[in-house]
Subunit: 239 residues, 2 copies
DNA sequence: ACCGCAACAATGGTCGGATCTTTCGCGTCG
DNA sequence: CGACGCGAAAGATCCGACCATTGTTGCGGT
């Protein structure tokens, strides 16, 4: 157990015990280092680690504060983890994404607001226009894709689910870019699938929304570059 | 963008570019600090943060190495995040756990090995004995509970799913302890639900396994201490 | 009395050096 | 040939100094 771990655990316990409330300011470095019995350098290492984890937030000239411990912010470093996964894990990551997004679609079907439906409709209409007029604008298409999925995730009523979907989207979406550039007609097929999801949401039909989302994401997986390696002793799992 | 962020991003890119392979050793602190254009102190802050994230691993007197980037290890700090969630998020966290574990049960039903089934059976038999002979041994009962769920998670064929379930178990299991101490007969009911899951796995019936698991976890949620706060403007979501 | 700007103090950010602890490699001795 | 021990190498920790940024305070002008 290193000194830095003492710092991390110490601050963690201070938060769990309520000594430090979200948004509250920490003692100055010198003082806190004395309290925890470590040098300022070791304290800073621990504080820095907690900052990267999204738990603390330091501002030069001001002080160090506990964040609001918001789920989405705390889940951000998991995206870091997702990025580091090798290509061998791509299908496994996607399977999780599919699981999460299908549940999101199911929940959103009964909870989505009319405003959100209108917003999503506007996005899909814009995508349709782009497909007709400027089919090479993949970047904007992808932005719309992300926004569409984000609207659904935001209306599940479960902020944890929202945050996790946000995290898993970052990686997969990048691969979607490669895919768009590789295959023709994919954007149009995806657009149709999005429309199907939107209709299910409009009719507030949870089962339909879930199935349409599942179909959509399976289509994404079909187009994923997939190189079976020597450790792939099992066939791709079918749902 | 602070110097430490430069370090974190620099090392991250070195890994993504393949300059650093999993298990490989990093240059010595002084040299790496020079390469990245920062002092040793700043470098150490970044390295320490990455160590806590499970990406690097430093051994005094030896050197700093890239971990094998195993999913379970990289997901560990997320447990930290789960611990920090307030009680207001408990049901939302549990909803995710339920989603993940139901999928795990479904997948494990067709993939679990005979050895694992035997192992799980032995665990459940021990739990049954404890319930008859020493009903107050909650601690051991909980250990068996964790082990049982872990066996299922380990046989999904999806290491990412395995790691995520591991992460979400830590928090929820603790609350299970409180629950066991609060209500009588809970341990026995849980034991029966576990047996039902085990039978479904034995018959390699994915649907049954999923449903039994869902029922089990809903039972857990029923016994969860739940205090509706002022921000709880929605009723608990029913599945 | 009010407003704007400048100086000051507090705080985190960065740096380089010094010393301690652990680990590993290699040479020596039994 | 093997066990022991010494020393080099590397990270762990600490310290003191200085830099950069921010918030505050007080002064002067209007």
């Amino acid at each position: 157990m290193s000194r830095t771990d003492d710092v991390v655990n110490g601050i963690k316990h201070m938060i769990l015990n309520g000594d430090l409330q979200p948004g509250e300011r920490l003692p100055v470095e010198k003082e806190l280092a004395e309290t925890l019995g470590v040098s300022r350098g070791s304290l800073r290492e621990g504080v820095r680690a907690l900052s990267i984890l999204g738990i603390l937030n330091s501002r030069q000239g001001d002080g160090t504060y506990v964040t609001d411990l918001d789920v989405s912010q705390l889940l951000a470093p998991m995206g870091f983890v997702v990025d580091l996964q090798g290509d061998g894990q791509t299908l496994h990551l996607h399977a999780i994404r599919r699981l999460l997004e299908c549940e999101a679609a199911r929940l959103a079907a009964t909870r989505i607001t009319d405003e959100a439906l209108k917003e999503a409709e506007a996005l899909l209409e814009e995508a349709g226009r782009i497909l007709d007029e400027n089919p090479e604008a993949h970047e904007r298409i992808i932005e719309i894709d992300i926004a569409f999925h984000r609207i659904i995730a935001a209306h599940t009523g479960n902020p944890v689910l929202t945050g996790m979907i946000e995290t898993f989207a970052s990686r997969t979406v990048r691969e979607r870019l490669w895919r768009s550039l590789r295959e023709e007609g994919i954007d149009r097929r995806t657009h149709g699938e999005h429309n199907a999801i939107w209709r299910a949401l409009k009719y507030h039909d949870p089962d339909a929304a879930r199935i349409r989302m599942a179909n959509h994401l399976l289509g994404v997986e079909d187009s994923l570059p997939f190189l079976p390696g020597p450790d792939e002793d099992e066939p791709p799992l079918e749902s």
